[in-house]
């Protein structure tokens, strides 16, 4: 049998690749992946909002795929390759999408921003030249209470145009 079993309340060591580095921390079965990343690996760019998959603040990349980190459990992420907002650009630098967000004032309080940036990373890889409709559909998975979304849409469209010109 190759069944992984962790008893309720059991503390166990969990290893993942976080932003390119092998990292490990302590988890228990009911621990949310977002809490593991914040509390054990100090990835404070993972923001936790609704804790039931609705608001999008905790969105991260697991094996390159944009997913919620609040509706999966740390135990499930065993051995995966995780990228959070901290890993989207070199420390101190901004990538093309982040630059466009700054230019277009696509954030105010910034709580939703890390999740959106992770989503956009996966989305633009699959859809390098999106129209506004596609961008808005992708953004429907995130709640932003500051911007009214118009500036976020403008930033994503501009970043997509710049990136596909450069590619």
């Amino acid at each position: 049998m190759t069944i992984v079993h962790r008893a309720a309340g059991e503390r166990f060591t969990l290893e993942v690749t976080l932003n390119g580095q092998r990292r490990s921390g302590q988890a228990e079965p009911r621990m949310l992946l977002c809490d593991f990343l914040r509390h054990e690996l100090q990835a404070f760019g993972v923001h936790v909002g609704c804790e039931h998959g609705v608001c999008g603040a905790c969105t991260i990349l697991v094996d390159g795929i944009a997913v919620r980190s609040c509706t999966q459990y740390a135990a499930q992420a065993d051995g995966t390759d995780i990228v959070t907002v901290e890993g989207l650009a070199q420390p101190g630098a901004l990538n093309e999408v982040q630059r466009a967000f700054a230019k277009h004032h696509a954030l105010q309080c910034g709580f939703c921003t890390p999740g959106i940036l992770c989503s956009v990373t996966h989305f633009l890889r699959e859809t390098p030249e999106p129209d506004e409709q596609r961008v808005r559909e992708m953004l429907s998975g995130h709640i932003c209470r500051c911007t009214g979304y118009a500036s976020i849409v403008a930033a994503i469209l501009e970043a997509a145009a710049t990136m596909s010109k450069g590619a």
Partner: protein
């Protein structure tokens, strides 16, 4: 919120998952994408003693074609299904329903089988499966069985699945080249739970009469339902949208909740069925002219 503590099991093979479930029975919950179970655990609506994580069982992630059906593994994510050329070509109704399922980020993890197993009354994949006459495939240590989707869904979050069974696959009848399909819904925001949804598949004769017809409505009753359309076969296509939508609206017994009254759901049933039938007719005529 955080879930109540649970034992976590992650089998690699379906046989292991089935054996575990036989032991744990109704004290266990099956976790795949976690887009329905995750919120239920976190909000403590569900408090299972054990969680069996089937998300790494590769055998549940396949798509295959057999005779007249496309068989989708229960563990296929909604995004994977949406990217499949085979599904777009052979099961257009499912391909049309999928963009309405949650959001980009939730489809990346949510599975076809999970949506069917949890049976939310407003869920799109169960509706598409009912509307196209599909089948749910279940496996337990006692053996396997297949149940028509029309019988599988019993009520809100209730199905014919027994506690020791895992939904392993869904069977979708392959479309015909001259068929038209459509899926539409109304929600407060795109990707939110549907207040009402309608699906339609049909084929026309050369003289523009309805040869084959099926219509399903979701989010209106406590489970996805197939509308009885037996009286409409053979009718002139032009008469169908108005007559059928009125018939559908008068045959449903809608739910009432904080997002919509029963009267509003009845009104939506009429509007959505009419839209779906019109769109399916357009597609069927286009397909027929291409052949």
């Amino acid at each position: 919120m955080k879930p109540v503590g649970f034992d976590y099991y992650r089998p690699q093979a379906l046989s292991e998952a089935v054996a575990l479930l036989a032991d744990k029975g109704d004290e266990a919950a099956i976790l795949a994408g976690g887009m329905t179970l995750g919120p239920m655990l976190n909000l403590r609506v569900a408090r299972p003693r054990s969680v069996i994580d089937i998300s790494r069982i590769q055998a549940l992630k396949t798509i295959s074609v057999s005779n007249n059906v496309v068989i989708t593994g229960a563990g296929l994510t909604q995004s994977e299904a949406l990217r499949s050329d085979l599904i777009a070509r052979e099961v257009p109704l499912l391909a049309m329903a999928l963009p309405w399922v949650g959001h980009f980020q939730t489809r990346n993890r949510g599975t076809l089988g999970g949506s069917v197993a949890h049976a939310d009354p407003s869920a799109e994949i169960p509706l598409a499966l009912v509307a196209c006459g599909g089948t749910v495939v279940l496996q337990s240590r006692r053996g396997g069985r297949r149940i028509a989707a029309k019988e599988f869904f019993v009520g809100a979050l209730m199905t014919q699945r027994r506690p020791d069974e895992i939904v392993t696959a869904l069977e979708w009848p392959r479309t015909r080249p001259d068929a038209g399909h459509a899926f539409t819904e109304i929600a407060q925001r795109h990707g939110d739970f549907a207040i009402a949804a309608a699906a339609c598949s049909l084929r026309l004769t050369k003289s523009d009469r309805v040869e084959h017809l099926s219509v399903g409505v979701g989010g209106v009753e406590d489970r996805p339902i197939a509308i009885d359309v037996s009286g409409f076969r053979g009718q002139a296509a032009g008469d169908i949208p108005a007559n059928l939508s009125a018939h559908a609206a008068s045959s449903v017994t809608p739910m009432e909740d904080r997002s919509a009254s029963a009267d509003y759901r009845t009104a939506l049933t009429k509007v959505l069925v009419e839209r779906a039938v019109n769109a399916a007719l357009d597609m069927a005529r286009l397909q027929r002219n291409r052949l």
